[in-house]
Symmetry: C2
Subunit: 320 residues, 2 copies
């Protein structure tokens, strides 16, 4: 832990005021350095009061996805051990991809308070109102052939749905392939990108956009947030910790060779698509019928009215 | 065409000496500019003699992969219309990938006289002695799902084999998946990398390393060059033009939906692997048996001695 994080820790654990002298002695830094760090923390949004002869006191923590706040008490092995946080960014996907190319380790997280070029699947815009949602991308280095990326995407959907259940007490559904729904509305989206050789993934970036404290007026049509769904405001840092933990443990399940079965089972249990009439628009055109099953590679099996079963590996689903 | 390229053209088409004054007038640039460009060309390795009152005369073209030399007489539609050439580079793959991320158009070619981190498949080193081979990477933006990348790799192998046949009068064989052999030795290699979303390729970089004028002593064990095979020295620019033309036309075949059949047929006709006993070491371990066929997704079908046919989507083949 660096001096900056240790001062936050110190202030958080203090019972009332802490003198600059005490921090200076314990952390073995100068009084001037303590003052400099306090100033820095205030600029980051920490509410810190200072009283002569008493010292400093932490009165509020900012509503921000700050690396040391996320990592505080985060008991993961690799997910989120390395965090790059932005106030404003074009897209966390692009930043994470760049970091992946530079060799950033598995589990590196890129997050931002807002994105001005937030992206969803198939080049769509992902609305990212400042400090209302969680906009993040995780770098992974799985041993998967590129053609099995869909498995990782479905795994991310299951992990995210369970994390949001744990964080907010809701039961999200999953719309094929990986939209997270609540009450039929879109609560979160997942975007997966990879760099690969013909037969070997170099790295994957899994992006997640979650509407957390977004108000109804800030949401696009057909979208929901944890706030609109529950009437409560959430600590985004806590929600993000749930996500990192859940995703890491599901990722470990997938990592064990041939263990896609548990993911499929969990995915099917939350599916908003299976047993429904669907229209799937994919690269090969539109298919209409009954979504009968998920294939072992993550494809959707659609039984047309003719009885023919068509396999859709990609595309957009319209239910109903 | 810029002034630089037009001066080269002018000198090439001239019958003997051309005066600076004539170039200045025709190209509508100052005499000083003509002199500056001539100086530039000499630094690029062009042999240009200058005689007072007569002017300039081109006596030799450098043995270099210069963009305007490659493009001169290149009748492709997109392949090589945009060229980034290096004297020395880490790896043309990495440069091309970076350009791909910045939005470089389909057909953009990156080439280098030498690479100090030239890569082959599966992270291996690709030896790149200066000015002896063709080390290049092409950016493509095909409409393929990521799982079908193998099709593009096989297409590149067929295109490269045919280009080398046309350029040098040899009949190269293809070792699964995409090594180009001549007389059982490796003449060229292909490396494919992509950036993709779960269901959509963003771009592909196809890298090719071809041993052209490499001498026997510069080759690693088991490798050949056009020179060692034919006893002749080749103009690398001409060879590269053959490659760009051949690849563009095969790529167009693949681009037409469902037209992988012609590629498979051409690939099989040149296969050094089919009907042979092979040991294939892939991500799932080693498989030994008879290579019976190529599957429609580019995988190799191996019949083990037990009679069971195993599908290998990736890996290394040892013939034997």
């Amino acid at each position: 832990m660096n001096a900056h994080d240790r001062i936050v820790q110190f202030l958080k654990e203090a019972d009332g005021y802490v003198s600059g002298e005490e921090m200076s002695e314990t952390l073995k830094i100068s009084r001037a350095a303590v003052w400099k760090y306090i100033d820095h923390l205030r600029k980051d949004g920490y509410g810190i009061t200072a009283v002569p002869h008493l010292g400093y006191r932490l009165v509020s923590v900012p509503d921000k996805l700050l690396p040391h706040e996320i990592q505080s008490g985060l008991n993961t092995r690799t997910f989120g051990k390395n965090i790059v946080a932005f106030n404003t960014v074009g897209s966390t996907m692009d930043e994470a991809f760049r970091l992946g190319m530079e060799g950033a380790p598995e589990g590196t997280l890129v997050c931002a308070e807002t994105q001005h070029k937030g992206r969803g699947r198939l080049g769509r815009v992902w609305s990212s109102p400042r400090a209302k949602g969680i906009y993040c991308s995780l770098i992974l280095r799985p041993r998967l052939p590129p053609g099995q990326l869909a498995r990782l995407t479905l795994t991310a959907a299951v992990a995210l749905a369970e994390a949001l259940r744990d964080a907010a007490g809701i039961e999200p559904a999953i719309k094929w392939p990986n939209d997270i729904l609540v009450g039929g509305k879109k609560l979160a989206g997942i975007l997966t990108e990879l760099r690969a050789e013909a037969d070997q993934v170099k790295f994957v970036v899994v992006g997640m956009g979650i509407n957390v404290n977004t108000s109804a007026s800030q949401l696009v049509d057909g979208a929901a947030s944890l706030r609109t769904e529950t009437g409560r405001i959430f600590n985004r840092v806590v929600v993000l910790r749930h996500i990192l933990r859940s995703f890491e443990s599901w990722y470990a399940v997938l990592g064990t060779r041939g263990r896609f079965d548990p993911v499929m089972k969990a995915w099917k249990a939350r599916s908003a698509t299976l047993k429904k009439r669907v229209r799937v628009t994919g690269p090969g055109g539109m298919v209409e019928g009954l979504a009968v099953d998920l294939d072992t590679d993550g494809a959707l099996l659609v039984r047309q009215d003719s009885g023919v079963i068509v396999k859709q590996t990609a595309g957009d689903v319209v239910h109903g």
